[in-house]
Symmetry: C2
Subunit: 192 residues, 2 copies
DNA sequence: AATTAATTAGTACCAGGTACCAAGAATAGT
DNA sequence: ACTATTCTTGGTACCTGGTACTAATTAATT
């Protein structure tokens, strides 16, 4: 809380950080944090083009909903661009900052896995599908701003078991290869 | 938009539905939709215990933020409960509804993967770590409400390569086993 | 017709702002 | 040291989207 009088630029720099990690802060909160008047905070926001609390909350509410879709969405991680049910599928996942490690800017592996896994599951022509085994290989790091194109193909089918191979690339460069053994569940595998 | 004068209960029933699919509606919006006065809408919300717009937005924003944290959080997926850097680690991930497939209530595989992978990376004593290869096996479905306990152990180390084995269980029952080959990155693998 | 329920109108008040103006304090330029 | 400029603060009027309350009006019931 305590803070010796900062320069304007330093205060504004910190203000951005504060709001990034907590967009719920009001101008009053901020004025207390930085020990300046409300007007100063408002001038800062004006200069930095940071919208007011309510606008921020609207944005958070809206954007997080869409981000959620990309990660934990009910259906697919990424956007489906092609699908031949029972055969193959293609999805695209644009890399946002939230997916990367702060230090290295490298996409965390589980995002690639999630895109591939959900695509592998999506191309199976069955009501419910789960993954049993997977062997995945991360060929090169993927960075913020890149778009990951994942292609999935069913390689073999034995009963309710499918082998799906997923290849993900960025600009024709392979970044990820995964082989997923997935199972189509029989009707009644009901939760306990 | 147009709507013949509804009974109170019917209006309130529909009001709930409207707000469920669009929490961004103001009382004014609603009063226009139902062609009643603002006061009526407010009485309705009062009776139905529906909070005002701003509260609703706060709730949406907060819940989405926390959901995001569980999946795309900067650090670990799950909560770290034990860590011996360079040796082993344990994390717990409570399963929420968002992680499950709607139909089957089974946790989507990439959440287990994410927990395990991020834990495998976390126990390595290095600034930046990436996953190169992984072999994972999903032993049994995990359901909403369960808590996944993941244990990671470094099995071997060769130069900057580590083999990490992660075992995840729910109530002493193994649900997931993964072997991760991870790399500690040399200082300067800077993004382009 | 009288009673009750539902609706509407109106007022005072609040948080968290925008937009603007003017005055004072701090800093830099010369 | 004095001035010019930038920064900061104070104050006002106004806005949205409400709460909380009172009173009047309208509709439905018995």
């Amino acid at each position: 809380m305590a803070r010796e009088s900062l320069s304007k630029i330093e205060r504004q720099r910190q203000l951005v950080q504060y709001l990034e990690k907590d967009p719920f802060l009001t101008d009053v909160d901020l004025s207390k944090i930085f020990k300046v008047s409300i007007q100063t905070i408002r001038l800062d926001r004006l200069e930095l083009k940071i919208p007011e609390l309510r606008e921020r909350l609207k944005n958070v509410a809206r954007s997080k909903v869409s981000q959620l879709k990309s990660m934990t969405g009910r259906e697919l991680v990424g956007e489906l661009v092609d699908l031949k049910v029972g055969a193959s599928g293609v999805s695209i996942l644009p890399v946002t900052q939230e997916m990367t490690l702060r230090k290295t800017k490298i996409v965390r592996g589980h995002h690639l896995f999630a895109q591939a896994n959900s695509l592998a599951v999506a191309i199976i022509d069955a009501e419910a599908v789960v993954t049993g085994l997977a062997r995945v290989s991360f060929k090169r790091p993927v960075y913020c701003g890149e778009k990951i194109l994942a292609k999935a193909v069913i390689k073999t089918k034995k009963g309710n078991k499918y082998m799906v191979k997923v290849t993900s690339q960025v600009n024709d460069e392979i970044v990820f290869i995964g082989r997923f053994l997935v199972f189509a569940l029989s009707e009644e595998v009901v939760p306990h």
